[in-house]
Symmetry: C2
């Protein structure tokens, strides 16, 4: 297979049936590409799809892993109702790969609106409608793995959070005061549930002012942060895009003084309303303003904060001052009229249409490299640049330290600065499935540190849904339980004792598997690989292209979580024999929970008590003893579970979790077979390593617990004891 990256630059009127590269205009015959024509607003590209082609990518979007069959728009949108007909969510990720007769990928570099019609209008083509002419387009040809790696390399090394951010995180809009947060932390301790962070949603602020803390609800914030830290809990406050208009508020005053806010048509700061009421938006596209806002994070960092989540940065607009006045005037004018039904709908639409209106986005202006730029044309850069602002602020604070940084709005290129959560989902089983299906697309766009609001943000969660969701989320780098005001509480103890017990076991399993989670994460980032991947990356049969509810996770695992209400099991397709490991509790690593599953289709029973994992052939999965915080995890006593028909090797990589020198410590376990016996070779520079226990399934399904005396171990540090 030939590997091709072609940079297609469009800068002129393009006749239909040609493609344009940096080298000029080519007829479509010269490259196996589609055609392009000029439209009213920009260009339309059309690429043919073959019968069995599947289309992966487009990051944060609705529908399945295979995007074929619908339309997706790149336009960062705050829309909390994630129904299957929505074309845009919070992120704009214009990269996709087609796997089929030809495997190719396409990235369109534009911060304005693009519509990807993936076999919807016409099942046999992908159609891009690009609003604008000033974009770059990159065409890739090669394997899916090669293309996704090259793309990830091109857009920059993905963000790595501190290691504690791989722990369990608890959130809700809103833990309304210090006492509530302390109570959450205490209850975690009472029930012995591992937890590394509690999030502070908007109510920690004084009147929703960024970088403020409420004197009444969160008094003496620094002490509070430090008290929580003493319990092993980091606090993660939210920062919103809009800056409250309030005389005397430093961020507002400075922004006005320096001209750092997004402007309206008239050159005055644009007035919108979000949580704080009327706000101005910092002009993150202006480098100076970006640096200024980034330094504001230092206020909270100085008080001991090590992580943030940037929200409302599409930017979300509840209404603009101009829009609201116009709507109220319209409604008032109808006061004495006998409204016909269409006038009523018009009236309703005037009010409903106030939020996130294109009209407002088109009235906003940035100062970018000294040039006045209309917001609408660069809309998708806004959240990106806010996040860059925060990241650079932290870098300025301490260039060696990793901070946790999450954002809601995102765009290609931003993944080097932060992770994302998948926005305001709901407690719907459909969104649990969506969570799984979205992961590979997010990874393709560079977002490796990501996860959904576990249990669902909106709507009411049931014990069963939380249980099943956690059975998935223990594998996602961001593992956060978050819910909205007004919905049923969904902390681990919010349901019944059975649920509490199960959830606790699953979270402990998360921590026990940290050597795997962390190793695979760092591998994905440094080597630009997919942490979560469709099966079609590694298996070439047509059948796997239809698999929409299973993913490969790291090098060793395939995941197939239960995604349906009242289900007591599920179907799974195995493209090769695997070890099915059904973990109920990490306290009991028993061969009884490990089953050899032949290639093919299976129905497997999965009770609420157990997490199913599939270990791939000749792969190992390392575990350590669980602890209640990531910092407390040790590599002194490790176990590995593996499926080893012939031989296998796994290198656990570790570091201090705080600084940026990754892969400082390692444990390399190599298993080979000789005359039916497993030989285990261990190499490490981890001084505390004492015990290694291996559960190795052979090709006959027999599990061998390989003890120390059977191992041929070679230690680089000569300290490993014979305790296995």
């Amino acid at each position: 297979m030939k590997n091709v990256v072609q940079h297609l630059k469009v800068g002129q009127v393009i006749p239909t049936q040609t493609i344009i590269s940096k080298q000029g205009v080519h007829s479509v015959e010269s490259l196996p590409l589609g055609s392009c024509k000029v439209t009213e607003n920009g260009h339309q590209w059309v690429f043919p799809l073959s019968e069995h082609d599947v289309v992966y990518g487009l990051g944060q979007s609705m529908r399945g892993m295979n995007k074929r069959g619908y339309v997706y728009e790149s336009f960062c949108s705050d829309d909390p109702s994630h129904t299957p007909d929505k074309t845009a969510l919070y992120g704009a990720h214009n990269f996709f790969v087609v796997i089929g007769e030809r495997t190719w990928g396409l990235y369109t570099d534009l911060a304005g609106k693009i519509s990807h019609d993936v076999g919807f209008s016409d099942r046999s083509s992908v159609k891009l409608d690009i609003e604008g002419e000033n974009y770059d387009m990159y065409y890739f040809e090669g394997s899916y793995q090669w293309i996704t790696s090259r793309f990830r390399e091109m857009i920059g090394q993905s963000y790595v959070p501190p290691k504690w951010a791989f722990g369990y995180q608890q959130s809700r809009w809103s833990y309304e005061n210090q006492d509530v947060v302390r109570e959450i932390a205490n209850t975690m301790q009472t029930y012995d549930i591992p937890c590394d962070a509690i999030y502070l949603d908007i109510d920690y602020m004084e009147r929703f002012k960024d970088f403020s803390t409420s004197d009444t609800r969160f008094p003496d914030f620094e002490t509070f942060v430090s008290d929580m830290r003493a319990k092993g809990i980091r606090l993660v406050p939210i920062i919103d895009a809009g800056v409250k208009i309030e005389a005397g508020y430093d961020v507002y005053e400075e922004g006005i003084e320096k001209g750092y806010f997004v402007q309206g048509e008239d050159g005055e700061p644009f007035v919108a309303a979000v949580w704080p009421g009327r706000v101005h938006f910092p002009d993150f596209l202006n480098a100076e303003a970006r640096a200024w806002f980034g330094r504001k994070y230092h206020t909270l960092i100085d008080m001991g904060i090590e992580g943030f989540w940037n929200d409302m940065n599409e930017p979300a607009i509840f209404y603009s001052e101009a829009g609201l006045q116009s709507a109220i005037e319209y409604v008032s004018s109808k006061q004495d009229e006998n409204l016909d039904i269409y006038s009523f709908f018009e009236l309703k639409d005037r009010i409903l249409g106030l939020s996130n209106a294109d009209k407002d986005y088109k009235s906003m202006y940035h100062l970018m490299d000294g040039k006045r730029v209309n917001h609408f044309d660069v809309h998708n850069l806004y959240g990106y640049k806010m996040t860059q602002s925060a990241a650079e602020g932290m870098l300025a604070y301490n260039p060696e330290k990793r901070f946790l940084l999450l954002t809601r709005a995102s765009h290609i290129g931003m993944a080097k600065y932060s992770g994302i959560w998948t926005g305001d989902n709901a407690s719907w089983w459909e969104h649990l499935k969506l969570n799984l299906q979205m992961l590979p697309g997010l990874n393709m766009a560079g977002f490796v540190y990501s996860g959904a609001d576990t249990g669902g943000f909106g709507s009411h969660c049931s014990a069963e849904l939380l249980t099943r969701w956690i059975q998935l989320s223990i594998f996602t780098p961001l593992f956060r339980n978050h819910s909205a005001m007004g919905t049923r509480q969904q902390e681990p103890w919010a349901f019944d004792t059975e649920t509490l017990k199960r959830v606790r076991h699953f979270i402990r399993l998360r921590y026990a598997m940290m050597p795997y989670h962390y190793t695979e994460y760092i591998h994905s980032v440094l080597d630009h690989t997919m942490l979560f991947s469709p099966l079609a990356r590694d298996y070439d049969d047509l059948r796997v292209r239809g698999v929409e509810d299973q993913v490969l996770y790291g090098q060793s695992l395939m995941l197939a979580p239960v995604l349906e209400q009242n289900a007591r099991g599920r179907y799974v397709y195995l493209p090769e024999p695997m070890l099915l490991w059904q973990v109920q509790s990490v306290e009991t690593l028993s061969p009884d929970t490990m089953t050899l599953m032949p290639k093919g289709d299976h129905y497997i029973q999965v009770s609420l008590d157990e997490v199913p994992m599939f270990i791939r052939q000749n792969q190992l999965v390392p575990l350590c003893r669980p602890a209640n915080q990531v910092d407390k995890l040790m590599l002194d006593d490790i176990s590995l579970v593996g499926f080893v028909p012939s031989n296998a090797s796994y290198t656990i990589w570790d570091d201090d979790g705080v600084h940026k020198n990754y892969r400082q410590r390692y444990v390399r376990v190599t298993v080979s077979k000789y005359e039916g016996q497993f030989n285990v070779h261990i190499e490490t520079n981890v001084h505390e390593l004492q015990t290694v226990t291996l559960y190795l399934m052979d090709e006959h399904g027999k599990v061998h617990c390989v003890k120390q005396t059977e191992c041929d171990r070679k230690m680089t540090n000569d300290r490993l004891q014979d305790k296995c």
Copy 2:
């Protein structure tokens, strides 16, 4: 198993832990029931659920067949966004059956609000919150089949439409004028697609006035109806609940004169607004008003109309006059204020909350048997009584003739008068699955003539979604393709030629299977059986209780349609061996399309070209030659496909399709086996019957085409020729 029906009458304060029956108060020990306590608004009943109990029923509601895990409210609601968190749709169907250690059912007879919390707040109980004390409650114990039959018998024989209503029906909001409708009919002919009816949505009316027809868009309506009839097409006009307030409009004038409209607090007719703008609602709960409105249908029947759909009869209210004035005043009062964010949300909610407001429902009054009754307390009766009005109007017109009658809002007891469509769904794959899952619940509530808007009403449909949806809808009694204004067209020819070809084949299969559809329908109605049933009715293993995407259809078939985008097949669980019949075209009944499937789990390939059906053991499925209208179908040349390990029998029942004397004609086919040979015995009173062809699969999977010469046939009419 004992069979119990217990009538529980509540009419006094009930101490917790007791149940009340007609015979008085019993302690909970005396019957294996739950407990009841008095609440602020009425009563709360709690019934325990066991670990493996499944809960079927509650008619038109979201989520799976097994309702366990969520809350369902009985309050007819016009809410077009059928997301998984919605607790109420258009129908209120307070009947459910628990299958488990004990199999029992419960029906609560109340037209006010009831909440069924089915294992949501507490996984191990069903909790009913009943607003009111004046209700009857019926407790059933026995098998699922017995309970559903007794309940159906109790609520009255379900509605039977004319036979043409089992044909394909085409609809859209709105085929805006006669020319468009004629074009639709002509295109059906051009492409040779069977079709029996075209629906007229609101635009056929003059200014949305019930029983009017637009002189400009639908001039000379009677001739138009008759022209269409000549093409084999019946027109089915919509009738809305609200009567336009317009001087000179007869329905309005008479209603005012006679006092037939729902009143407000002040005793004046209540003013709401729906499609026609300001309307009054006929007081269908007043017997005189009901009879008066019912007679209005005669206007259109006189012009040749034979079917209607009653809409907006929850009743849907866009706004009430009082509500709108109050909201506009509120908004106007904010004109010069600097709104804080909560005031903005309040303003938004005032406008959004105008539609279907409880406040309005609580301000409306009925005259029922001379008594003034608040609408809120009897809300769920409104659509029911409108439909009864229509049905009785038709009965008065011609007591012998069957009319097609559909309604959107519904309630238990209404099923004897009409069918229902499942309301304003969307072109979401999730709604295709919901369609399947809802069918058994609807049948339990008596709604046998029902179906969803095929292809989805709201949102945009893809060729693939329409194709898969039609693969299901060819089995539902109501088979109607309907879509909303502003969405992509979804007539069979609206996509590509491949889709057109497939859809045509599937619709022809629908017509070819009419002997089966009609026989099973009449059986379900006359014998109070489930036309669509969860597998758990007939199979007792725990596994089938988890099957949520397969249903039994009639006596012979199990259906397992493809419900997911881009799927090329699906999993299926067979509780016993079955014949998998994958029909591509009814023109070619080939043994090659028939496969013996053993009991157990299977992945089956299902291309877009084929409809999979599973024929159960020792069952037959009859077919006739397809035609383009139901009226043209003949029983001269019939085929049967069967899976006959030992013996089987099927009786096709038929009648003139117009009158109410069902089961006038029959063909009884009996297959027995002797020394490995099939013996076929045919008994019939159908004079035109000429040819019978049987495709019989034996227990080894071999398909025998049983020809005439091999048959031992005994004819009651001595006319069957040896042409097989």
